[in-house]
Symmetry: C2
Subunit: 539 residues, 2 copies
């Protein structure tokens, strides 16, 4: 993946004439956000660091050159990408290391604890919340610890539907290895092409097939984690247990604060024998939400269940090749996508029950084509962001979740908060969809396109204000501050509202026990508000 | 509930002639285990304790008399019940208190922290693992803190399917209050008639409808917990979140170690509009297990899915009124029970898909009657244990869970370990069933009936040896030490094998932060093996 955009150069997409027209109509005359290639801050690693860590991992697995440091300097949030379009020096890890075993990691952590060097674990580098920003937190240097060599499918239990995957395996690599056994993980977040198994666990990722296969944290049976005080394998040899508090649930979502995840044992399933698709439209978002709720609460079992609001449907975001072409029949009202997988019998039954509930709740079937189009283009949206930035637009996403009864209130509050900050001389497009459903509620995912200023610093300030207002609205109106993007550094300032001060105290106690020198991701340690969050770093 | 048996005097059942015949045939001549009424240890509470705590809660909510202390002195394990049949003095809480608000609990915990008094939270008193035994752990007295006054249905969100229940509500009371809103929790462990909402959460309980509605820990959205350092509400305003490690999962299964659970917000569902039943038989347990696995992995959605092994099926444990009558057609082979709930459409579809898979995997339908009988008698078994004890039999249950591929190995290992300790001059009946299924594995629940000695002390030693051997076998053969009975004091000696020493360190760190004086359930604090577990207390 290119260090300064989503995906590779090959994947770059030109904006279609229709979207260009839409942009200029909506946002007025825009100027491309300038491209730049800022310098990296010089490395603070000493010769002793390089020699010592090199001796642990082998000299071919350690680097201090800019080519290796640059792609590990930032994640893929809009603010991260903007950093590459400014002239300011960009902070970067001082050293990149790719250990091959847990024992090597343990040795590195010992050295770094002793030498006061910060360590930031690195998987796919797809964080959109500042999760891999190399903040030293008072330490004398920062190491980016790349899990790329943990790339094996370690074992497969086809009877139980379990497999152990190396933390450094990307989504596609994991699926390719499982496919050799006729198995599938079925975890398809938008970051799927680049993100890794370890990252999915560390961030409580959730994929687009979550209605069928659950969130990634629900798929995890066991983890291997290297902490500075030793190796632990939280999780169980059994599918469920009543043996006390869940140690595994402390490491899921821990984002490298307590240790380095190296292996993940996960639930897998046979590659579906059958796949069925159907799309529906609803007269309003609220009616569509009521239908999704009926389907989920009945337990009718779709694999994918999602709903776009009026604006997102009209922009036709379901097909990245057709964005802005809003004349299709399916783009009237709110578009809902359903997909069904499993045995033929199971897909038939789930489809029939779901279809009946969608129709009974006011849905109108528009056939399978929009659902197939959505599936085809579902990893394409992040690539478009780069093109939109080139065209002078601000483009970012954010997400939350809430109870079914609170969906209208939260959607309104978050949209209003964003609009208040972004709508000024130019308009802003604030689109929303539901893409993860639960018995008691659902996620809300917002995609925002607005005009950017000529000055990237000014645009960054504008976005930070909008993001801050949106997050504040979530905490005030019954939403979580993140449904599947994780905390990173961007969401740190709201963690006390999310888990209370006593919750932060508990995480601090665990942190102190496992990482007494505080070397792991020190810039994003949960504390009572004394951190320097990413979202404020230039203010 | 009577202090010295399960249920009330009214519920007592005489053993049927067929079971009496079976017992004498199997176990030889038995003498009734003697009945006794041992004295309670004198209370160590001081006048100041009574006056101070009485001033906090009101004098009508505090007691030091034996009538109040006795029912809170022991849980309902076989060893607990044996204690009441010996002549030795029985340890008991020194004081019983029933606070009415979180603020009162906080004041009590402050007083006890200062005065070095241990606190054991009390719900229904149904622990079968020594969970409520009043161990002082070096403190000068022990208080039993009864949650009985937290008995309200606090709020209901019918749209989202959420309700907040007081921790002291028993299973039936919670269901009655929800039924007024057309809702159901659907959590039916065998302890349902007496156990409480707070206890379900504190122990990670799992009910007989878990295939449909999940384990209790999965139903919990949010908890209110009073810790010695303050009140915390772990959980979220949203159905799922990626905002860091799960604080809620630290309190689920915490068994009163970190705080007192006072309220639980749970997922509820409409009272099912339809209910369908069907029973099947399989030629062998392994074939039956394969069928259950096929059903669960296909996602066909039964509400109840369970399977008895050959011995349990032949004893006809599915109907407590007919135990030992083994001539019925459905008792040849291994009996499986299925039940389906929901809308008529949903139950129809789940039933059809499940039925097809059961038949395709070698099952033979034996109609709905055995399933209906099972449902009718499903809370009756614990009552029979008292009658079996009266008749001179040792009777107890234990449980574990494992991966599907490991079921035969674990069942064999646990059965052999129990048999080795129990089968001597008399035979032992070791029965097993699967009652909780997951995509990757299932539970194994063992019911053991064997001959008891004339000397209860001798019988207790014999059972402790069998329980210890069974638990050791679980840790050696891929099982969890408890699937839904929790840790209590009985399972403490194996916690280091279950969650590793680092896992215990993590829980200790949390404990020290939340309960610095160590007053909460000090006798069962997870530590590195320095505790005095219940299972060894008379050795």
């Amino acid at each position: 993946m290119a260090y300064n955009k989503w995906g590779t150069e090959d994947e770059a997409k030109e904006l279609s004439p229709s979207i260009q027209k839409m942009l200029s109509k909506m946002l007025g005359a825009t100027k491309p956000t300038p491209s730049s290639k800022p310098l990296l801050a010089a490395s603070n690693a000493t010769e002793t660091d390089v020699a010592t860590i090199g001796a642990i991992v082998g000299s071919q697995y350690i680097a201090v050159d800019d080519e290796q440091r640059r792609p590990r300097a930032r994640g893929k949030s809009y603010l991260d990408l903007l950093d590459w379009r400014m002239d300011d020096e960009v902070t970067a890890p001082d050293l990149v290391v790719a250990p091959g075993t847990e024992e090597e990691i343990l040795e590195i952590l010992h050295y770094c604890s002793h030498e006061r060097i910060a360590v930031v674990p690195f998987g796919g580098g797809t964080s959109v919340v500042g999760g891999i920003t190399p903040l030293p937190g008072g330490h004398r240097a920062v190491i980016s610890l790349d899990l790329v060599r943990f790339d094996a499918l370690e074992d497969v239990d086809e009877v139980s539907g379990l497999a152990t995957l190396g933390a450094g395996l990307s989504g596609p690599h994991a699926e390719m290895k499982l496919a050799e056994h006729g198995l599938q993980l079925g975890h398809f977040p938008q970051s799927f092409p680049y993100a890794t198994i370890g990252g999915f666990a560390a961030t409580r990722s959730s994929g687009q097939n979550s209605a069928g296969y659950g969130r990634f944290d629900e798929m995890v049976r066991e983890l291997t984690v290297v902490t500075p005080v030793g190796i632990i394998r939280p999780g169980h040899s059994s599918p469920a247990t009543a043996a006390g508090p869940s140690i595994k649930e402390i490491f899921l979502g821990s984002e490298g604060l307590f240790g380095v995840i190296t292996r993940v044992r996960v639930r897998v399933h046979p590659i579906p024998e059958d796949k069925q698709y159907e799309a529906f439209t609803f007269a309003s978002f609220d009616k569509g939400v009521a239908a999704l709720r009926a389907v989920e609460q009945a337990g009718s079992g779709p694999t994918v269940l999602r709903l776009s609001d009026e604006i997102e449907s009209s922009v036709n975001l379901t097909s990245t090749d057709k964005i802005g072409e809003s004349d299709a029949e399916e783009n009237k009202g709110c578009l809902a996508i359903t997909m069904f997988e499993g045995t033929k019998e199971h897909a038939d039954r789930a489809h029939a029950e779901t279809r009946a509930l969608m129709l009974a709740n006011g849905g109108r079937s528009v056939g399978e084509e929009p659902a197939r189009q959505w599936e085809k283009g579902r990893f394409g949206a992040p690539v478009l962001r780069d093109s939109l930035m080139d065209a002078g637009a601000l483009c970012e996403t954010l997400e939350t979740a809430t109870d079914w009864s609170n969906v209208p209130r939260l959607k309104k509050a978050v949209s209003a908060a964003i609009a208040k900050e972004l709508v000024d001389e130019s308009a802003a497009l604030i689109m929303c969809h539901v893409s993860h459903v639960y018995a008691t509620g659902c996620s809300l995912y917002f995609t925002i396109v607005a005009g950017a200023s000529d000055d990237p610093q000014q645009t960054a300030r504008k976005w930070r204000a909008a993001k801050s207002a949106a997050t504040e609205a979530m905490t005030l109106h019954g939403g979580t501050i993140t449904h599947h993007h994780a905390v990173g550094t961007d969401h740190l300032p709201w963690m006390d509202k999310e888990i209370e001060v006593l919750g932060i105290d508990i995480l601090q106690a665990v942190k102190q026990r496992l990482d007494p020198a505080g070397i792991l991701n020190p810039g994003k340690t949960f504390d009572r508000g004394t951190s320097m969050p990413h979202s404020l770093r230039n203010d």
